[in-house]
């Protein structure tokens, strides 16, 4: 299983002996290229075209994060898995209003299922959330009857609003989480969510790269926004099960607290040490395995992302109907 590599230190990433080496004034360390799936760059790394060509050859995606820890973009090698057939069919599924809505509904359907599953977990643990769970289930029933993407997004927004309002009940820390804010996040909990969501987003992007799907043609989000919107679509499903659960555990174990952030101008940003803690936990989580019901074998969380892409690909080529991932344990 290839791994993700995280670069925090400053220096130079180079090609050396058909493998990778990271060098700075103090140390130089080899990175086995065959072990690399994707690279996250948080520090100041310089590299040259010789290296980029080498990364192309090895199908390695590189994700860049800016000084504030926000995702700024990815180095995405030329698509090596091209299929005009899938590409066209994906576009047809987007252009046909009914087909597009069908897929979009499925994304929200499974995302909200996973959200309510999270709440049910804490409800079982003795925190009264029955009212909110009922409310969400009520909203979920409406998903099937919507007639436009906007309406669907509206329902999703309402579900999330209820969902976020419950966080105060089961997180041991005083998070003061009023509402979700972006660009820039105004309190630390929002900043934490943004950071972790960007990790989910990039993981999805890397997995899409290994399928025939085109990451720019999306179904739920509108595709004309200069980003890989299909990645945003698929991320919706995994945010509650991977991202949010990670946030709960980080906060409830006091691994991340108010102290992990610094305020700078009007940004609230994560300290480098905190970023490292989060990434270590995130990395561990993606490696964790579950027994897959259909495949009847152990698969890692990261693999689930890929399977989701495969299912979508099968749907657009009209092989099997797409059914979003719903947590079953």
């Amino acid at each position: 299983m290839k791994r993700s590599y995280y670069l925090f230190s400053n220096g130079e990433l180079k090609r050396r002996d058909n493998s990778l080496i990271i060098k700075n004034t103090r140390t130089s360390k080899y990175i086995p290229v065959e072990d690399v799936n994707q690279i996250y760059v948080f520090g100041e790394i310089s590299f040259n075209s010789k290296l980029t060509n080498f990364l192309f050859q090895n199908n390695i995606t590189v994700h860049f994060f800016n000084y504030y820890g926000y995702y700024s973009g990815s180095f995405y090698p030329r698509e090596n898995l091209l299929s005009g057939d899938v590409h066209l069919k994906q576009a047809v599924n987007h252009l046909n209003f009914h087909k597009r809505l069908l897929i979009a509904k499925e994304f929200i359907n499974s995302a909200s299922f996973n959200i309510s599953r999270n709440l049910k977990y804490y409800n079982r643990k003795g925190i009264t959330l029955e009212f909110q769970i009922k409310e969400i289930d009520f909203l979920r029933k409406k998903i099937n009857n919507v007639n436009s993407i906007e309406e669907l997004m509206g329902i999703e927004g309402n579900i999330r609003k209820i969902y976020y309002s419950t966080w105060d009940f089961f997180i041991n820390q005083n998070i003061n989480f009023k509402k979700r804010e972006k660009h820039p996040p105004k309190n630390w909990i929002n900043s934490l969510i943004s950071f972790i969501n960007s990790l989910i987003y990039t993981t999805t992007l890397t997995e899409i790269y290994h399928t025939h799907l085109d990451p720019t043609i999306s179904f739920l989000h509108s595709p004309s926004e200069r980003r890989y919107s299909l990645s945003l679509d698929i991320s919706e499903i995994f945010k509650p099960i991977v991202g949010d659960r990670l946030i709960f555990s980080l906060l409830n174990k006091n691994m991340i607290t108010h102290e992990s952030f610094i305020e700078e101008f009007n940004h609230i940003i994560l300290k480098d040490s905190a970023k490292k803690i989060i990434l270590k936990e995130f990395d561990e989580r993606l490696k964790q395995t579950i027994k897959h019901k259909k495949l009847n074998k152990k698969v890692s969380y990261r693999r689930l992302f890929r399977l989701e892409c495969y299912k979508l690909e099968k749907h657009v080529t009209e092989d099997t109907k797409y059914e979003g991932f719903k947590i079953w344990w």
Binding site: S4, I22, D35, K276
Partner: protein, 95 residues
């Protein structure tokens, strides 16, 4: 699977040739595994990659003079690792 690879390349027989084989082996191994000590490598690798590594190494090593040993384990958990002296995690993916 998790493997530890160690090699012993003979440079006494034919110094120039031995040195070249040593260099090549080093270059090949570090593409697949983490370099831990002079001739010791360690890391997670799958069957296919291990075959590839084997094939690449086979092009250079001499069956009668050099030796490569691979210790395999299904899981790094079954491998208790202690450090005597300098303690350094060379297999980390955080830099």
């Amino acid at each position: 699977m998790y493997v530890i690879l160690i090699y012993d390349i003979n440079i006494e027989e034919d110094n120039k040739k031995g040195q070249r084989i040593l260099n090549n082996s080093f270059k090949i191994c570090k593409k697949y595994l983490n370099h831990v000590q002079k001739s010791v490598f360690e890391g997670e690798i799958d069957k296919a990659q291990l075959e590839k590594l084997h094939a690449e190494l086979n092009r250079y090593i001499r069956k009668d003079l050099d030796s490569v040993i691979i210790f395999k384990s299904n899981n790094p958990r079954w491998l208790m690792k202690d450090f005597w002296g300098i303690k350094e995690d060379k297999t980390s993916n955080f830099f």
